[in-house]
């Protein structure tokens, strides 16, 4: 990954390399030329009597410096192209570079050690995440310190480039001193620049990381939400399957048992017709059978219609309950008061179904078991939940035994994570509280 910051650092490194290599070549070339000049001018004796050290074969040093410079450029390009992060190759280039640099510095009698800064700037970039960074820093500091001309000349005799510069004419001296000092300074400045851009680059990376973290958090939240949704849709699927299954069973019952019973009832009617109008025991028995079979057909129809969640499907919950109440009133001859605070209630399908069934079951119970005359049905909306209460004035019961009906109600409420309570108090009371799912409430 080449970020903009990285590119900048590369540019600075290139600049640094050019400066250091130029300086080294200029120094070695200058010493070479000046030595030749001194020999030509027959000033050798005077020069060496003032010298503290003689560099050796200046031409060889110059050639070595040029070759080393080429090596530095090569190792740098190897590193730059080796973005695959082959640590071994990078390590080898650094070692070669470091050794060559030390040799060059010694050959130049410590008059220039800026090339070391270049390698350390490189090392800092490549060792960004490495634990050896402290070792590199110590090595860099020590080697830079002990290759500094002013420090080394305290311990060993080394020549000073100024001795060679002073051989030139005064006007030329100024120019050469200016160039020499400028190049020295530029090396340091470019090193500092490089360090700064490394720091800036690092900060950019940190900022980017923080941003990425934030995005990750958001994605995580979204994922959780999606997960809940998925769970819900799984539940919906289960409910749908249940409804489909119920419908199938209802159809089956209607088609098979209903058909048989209808046939049976028709057969019995035929028998009755054959038996005549006489009130014979046979005729009585047949009448009874006919009644039973018709009751059976009715029962089956009722069962089928109760299996089929048809009522709330066709109407909204309110009108479905109203119709149920009216039907029950008419069939059972009881007084039923239906109280609904909010007539615009609209719930989820399973909720509506549950409410409808609870009301239906409770009414059936009150009439069948409680012999109630008056029944009150209350549906009201609380904060975040819906409350149901069916109160009758029947006989109630001292000990509530959960039969199929009550258990059915409890199951339905539990499925919706609600609560249900049965108690006998001036009749029988069914109280249910069903939570409304957030975000699904309609006006």
């Amino acid at each position: 990954m080449k970020s903009i910051g990285n590119l900048k650092i590369n540019k600075i490194l290139e600049l640094m390399l050019i400066i250091s290599v130029t300086t080294m070549i200029l120094i070695s070339g200058f010493v070479w030329i000046i030595t030749a000049r001194i020999i030509d001018m027959h000033e050798a004796k005077l020069f060496i009597s003032r010298s503290v050290s003689i560099p050796g074969n200046t031409m060889h040093i110059f050639i070595f410096t040029v070759i080393s410079s080429i090596c530095f450029i090569l190792t740098f390009s190897v590193r730059s192209s080796n973005r695959l992060n082959d640590t071994y190759i990078i390590f080898v280039t650094f070692i070669i570079e470091f050794i060559l640099e030390l040799i060059c510095i010694i050959l130049l009698n410590f008059n220039y050690n800026g090339i070391l800064l270049w390698t350390f700037a490189n090392a800092l970039i490549y060792l960004k995440k490495n634990k050896y960074i402290s070792i590199v820093i110590v090595a860099a500091t020590v080697s830079y310190l002990f290759t500094t001309h002013d420090l080394v000349k305290l311990f060993i005799n080394i020549y000073d480039i100024s001795a060679y510069i002073r051989v030139c004419s005064t006007s030329l001296q100024t120019v050469i001193f200016f160039i020499y000092n400028t190049l020295n300074l530029m090396t340091v400045v470019s090193f500092i620049l490089c360090c700064i851009s490394i720091i800036v680059n690092k900060e950019e990376i940190i900022e980017k990381n923080i941003e990425l973290n934030k995005q990750l958090e958001i994605a995580n939240f979204d994922l959780q939400k999606a997960n809940i949704e998925l769970e819900r849709s799984l539940m919906d699927n289960a409910r749908l399957a249940e409804i489909r299954e119920r419908n199938r069973i209802a159809r089956e019952i209607h088609d098979t048992l209903g058909h048989t019973l209808t046939g049976l009832a028709a057969g019995i009617d035929a028998c009755i017709a054959l038996a005549g109008d006489e009130k014979t025991p046979l005729r009585n028995q047949l009448d009874l059978l006919s009644k039973v079979s018709r009751n059976g057909i009715k029962d089956i129809r009722m069962s089928v219609s109760s299996l089929r969640p048809d009522a709330p499907d066709r109407l909204n919950l309110e009108s479905a309950i109203k119709e149920l109440v009216e039907n029950t009133k008419r069939v059972a001859g009881v007084n039923i008061i239906f109280n609904s605070e909010d007539i615009n209630l609209k719930f989820d399908e399973d909720e509506e179904m549950a409410i409808y069934r609870i009301v239906q079951e409770s009414l059936t119970n009150s009439i069948r078991h409680g012999n109630a005359k008056n029944i009150e049905v209350v549906v009201k909306k609380n904060f975040g939940s819906i409350g149901l209460m069916i109160h009758d004035d029947g006989i109630g019961c001292e000990k509530i035994e959960s039969g199929f009906g009550l258990r059915h109600i409890r199951e339905r409420v539990n499925m919706l994570k609600g609560q249900v309570n049965f108690r006998s108090e001036n009749g029988f009371i069914v109280e249910a509280m069903i939570p409304i799912r957030w975000g699904e409430e309609y006006g």
């Binding site: 004796k45 009597s49 010298s51 050290s53 003689i54 050796g56 060889h60």
Partner: protein
């Protein structure tokens, strides 16, 4: 597994082949090794010599015979005045000769530049070499700051010239070899008597006799070896100066010149062995000092000293950058330590050998026997043995010139002690500035 073994065999084979081929090539490589030697043309002592390379050539011949396959080469014809510059150029070109004559002027500078190989290891490690075979003062001239950097090649003692004819004419005896300042002064006074009564002496006692020689003969050491301290504030130095001034006073107001010396009007003069041997031998014998008979004797002894004089030497050193230092050392030994070569040097050149054995040999005894000379090898041996080496620190010549400029302005009647106290202060300051602190 098998492939791995085969690989190992192949690599071992290649390595073995490389080693064998390398050894073969190394063994049969071109064998000529060249050692470069540098010396200047002519004499180091300001006299003309006929064949200045003859001794060197025979040393090379001997060395090459003993070391087959090694050649010694040298550049001939470098005048002594150009030698230092020539060497400096070679230094800058990084082409230092392996073995080279080193001039006093360059010695310390070369050492400071690390151009001269330390010889301590060679001297101690070579069992066939014994430094005690040299005259100790001369051998020590190659030592600098407790390390040996050079071996002496030729020695040069300073002698006292005597005009025998003049002394005989004046019915004076030639001083004995152990004569003192007093004896010397007496003879000079007799020589400078104004015989024609014109107010000026007809003959002169001394020409070219400086206070440095007088100081040496009076047991004065002027500088420490490293040249960082001086001892000018000494009574014995004051005595020596007073003695020189008294001798000069005998010559009256006249400044004795070379012409007067050449024409035989001067009884005594300082003279190096080189001059003595050159002008005593053909062809210079018939060109110079022909009008009178002359000879050399040792220096006169001061009250607190001996008949000693300054002994100079020419040293040979090995380059620190030489790649054949072992051979260079062998050749250096041939030049400096080989009795045959040193004997030839003593026979053929107007110098003294640096080896005691050579100076004391029977062959050497014959050198001065040709004429009825007063001086002989034994006497020269004595001078070499007791002689005081010329200081070799750089800046010595300038320091001496500074002292000389002050001392030669003094007169017999001046407060010499006080002048020396002032000079000591000036010299300390000068040395501190030139040579640095101890």
């Amino acid at each position: 597994m098998k492939a791995k073994k085969v690989g190992i065999f192949i690599y071992t084979g290649i390595a073995f082949l490389i080693i064998v081929l390398g050894t073969v090539f190394y063994k049969f490589r071109p064998k000529e090794t060249v050692i470069e030697f540098a010396m200047f043309n002519g004499s180091n002592w300001g006299v003309a010599v006929k064949e200045s390379y003859s001794v060197i050539d025979s040393a090379i011949e001997k060395f090459e015979k003993e070391h087959k396959g090694i050649k010694i080469k040298y550049e001939s014809g470098i005048p002594k005045e150009d030698y230092s510059e020539w060497m400096a150029k070679r230094v800058l070109k990084d082409e230092m000769p392996d073995v080279f004559m080193v001039l006093d002027d360059d010695f310390e500078n070369y050492i400071n530049l690390g151009l001269i190989e330390k010889l301590d290891g060679y001297v101690d490690g070579d069992k066939s070499f014994d430094i005690n075979k040299y005259y100790s003062e001369i051998a020590n001239s190659g030592v600098f700051e407790r390390h040996r950097y050079a071996l002496p090649y030729e020695a040069m003692p300073t002698l006292m010239f005597v005009n025998r004819t003049l002394l005989e004419n004046l019915h004076l005896n030639i001083p004995e070899n152990n004569y003192t300042f007093e004896d010397f002064y007496k003879v000079c006074r007799m020589v400078t008597l104004d015989r024609d009564l014109d107010g000026n002496p007809d003959y002169f006692g001394i020409y070219r006799y400086d206070w440095i020689n007088a100081a040496l003969s009076n047991g004065v050491t002027l500088f420490t070896e490293d040249g960082k301290n001086s001892y000018f504030n000494q009574e014995s130095l004051a005595d020596a100066i007073r003695f020189v001034k008294s001798l000069e006073d005998l010559n009256g107001n006249q400044n004795v010149t070379k012409e007067e010396f050449d024409s035989g009007k001067v009884a005594f003069s300082q003279m190096s062995l080189a001059e003595y041997r050159t002008y005593k031998s053909y062809p210079y014998k018939i060109k110079k000092y022909t009008g009178f008979a002359w000879d050399c004797i040792p220096m006169s002894a001061g009250k607190t000293g001996n008949n000693v004089s300054m002994v100079d030497s020419l040293n040979v050193a090995i380059s620190a950058k030489s790649k054949k230092k072992k051979l260079a050392w062998e050749f250096l030994k041939t030049l400096s330590y080989d009795t045959q070569i040193q004997q030839k040097l003593y026979n053929d050149m107007p110098v003294a050998s640096v080896l005691k054995e050579v100076m004391e040999s029977r062959e050497s005894e014959n050198i001065f026997k040709e004429n009825e000379d007063i001086i002989d090898s034994k006497l020269i041996c004595q001078i070499l043995e007791n002689g005081s080496a010329k200081p070799r620190f750089s800046g010595y010549e300038d320091a001496i010139a500074l002292a000389d400029s002050k001392i030669s302005n003094l007169n017999q009647g001046d407060d010499i002690e006080n002048a020396l106290r002032i000079l000591q202060r000036q010299m300390s300051k000068y040395l501190l500035q030139e040579r640095g602190k101890e």
